[in-house]
């Protein structure tokens, strides 16, 4: 049975590299490569791939939020997160959002085939270098507090777009909100996070992986 794979990465060269690796396997087929995570969600609902390779650092809607939407609406599709972050907070955040695999981007081409087979069989996959990090977290019960847990999913999405430089009016249009509501979200999240200026809010978004500098 051929495993249908959807690749989601806004860097064409990375997507291309992953495509080469996946299509070299007799038991796998890439059904599409998309560069937009919102399109990825739509494509998943339409085409029902078996596995989605999702880049975490996607503009407008990051990979974790997209994974959450896919998990909610299409739970039979397994999501493998590809990320440059290897700390426990990011790994656990992705897994809690519904990803069943997490692969560090630097070695994605080497690991992605094993990851696809593992999650397609119903298991989970973590990059080997991450296993110890996550196990330490559980064993030592040093539950890292995720600062983003203080925000709702909608607030996280608004924050990501603000940090990426989108105007409030554009965010309102993209998320079907009024500009006043976007401003309300901004004020509310600054209060929740005890942040008093916009620059610090942007820095928070970057430091916590909601968006990247790329």
């Amino acid at each position: 049975m051929t495993i249908k794979v959807l690749i989601v990465d806004d860097h064409g060269v990375v997507a291309e590299g992953l495509r080469f690796v996946v299509e070299a396997q007799d038991d796998m087929k890439v059904i599409d490569c998309v560069q937009d995570s919102q399109e990825a969600v739509r494509r998943t609902l339409a085409a029902r791939p078996d596995v989605v390779l999702m880049d975490h650092a996607m503009p407008v809607l990051n990979g974790t939020e997209a994974a959450h939407m896919i998990h909610e609406h299409c739970p039979e599709t397994r999501v493998i997160m590809l990320s440059m972050y290897s700390d426990a907070v990011h790994v656990l955040r992705a897994l809690q959002a519904g990803a069943t695999g997490y692969v560090v981007k630097r070695s994605a081409a080497k690991e992605v085939v094993d990851a696809i087979r593992a999650v397609h069989r119903g298991g989970r996959y973590l990059s080997k270098q991450l296993a110890d990090t996550v196990i330490d977290q559980v064993v030592n019960k040093t539950a890292a507090v995720d600062p983003l847990d203080r925000l709702s999913a909608r607030e996280r999405q608004v924050l990501q777009m603000l940090a990426e430089g989108h105007a409030a009016s554009d965010i309102a249009t993209a998320l079907s909100l009024s500009p006043k509501t976007v401003e309300t979200y901004r004020a509310r999240m600054m209060e929740k996070l005890d942040i008093h200026d916009f620059a610090t809010l942007v820095k928070f978004a970057i430091q916590n992986g909601l968006t990247s500098l790329e």
Binding site: H11, G12, V13, V14, E16, G17, L18, F20, V21, K105, R106, S107, A108, A109, K110, V112, E214
Partner: protein, 130 residues
Amino acid sequence: MNEDSLENRVALVVDDHDAVRHALCERIKASFGQFQLREAGTVDEALKIIETERVDIVLMDIRLPGMDGIAGTRVVLERSPHTSVIVISIFDDSSHRSAASRAGAKAYVCKRAISRELIPVIENLMNCEQ
């Protein structure tokens, strides 16, 4: 371009993402089947390769762990002056391009333009050397 002259040419791809290295190697192989391909994830790894064999072309990413690709370009050219360095980067602005040029890179290709520009740039470099 004389295909015989491409025999035994060595191209080294330096990028910390293995998927990117893979894609670039496949592209080069598809157009220049005679090239021998090498890969490195850091400038240090690249220098170890350059110390052991003659490398004709280096494709160098800018953002690398340890030494970045701009500094890496300078060091590669100090150790191997005959090598042509092509800087490959997600950045598409004049400051990165001029930094690459000042470091001695022969060309700069933005990652988003790889499908359009990479092969013609390599062809051009090969033609200039003949």
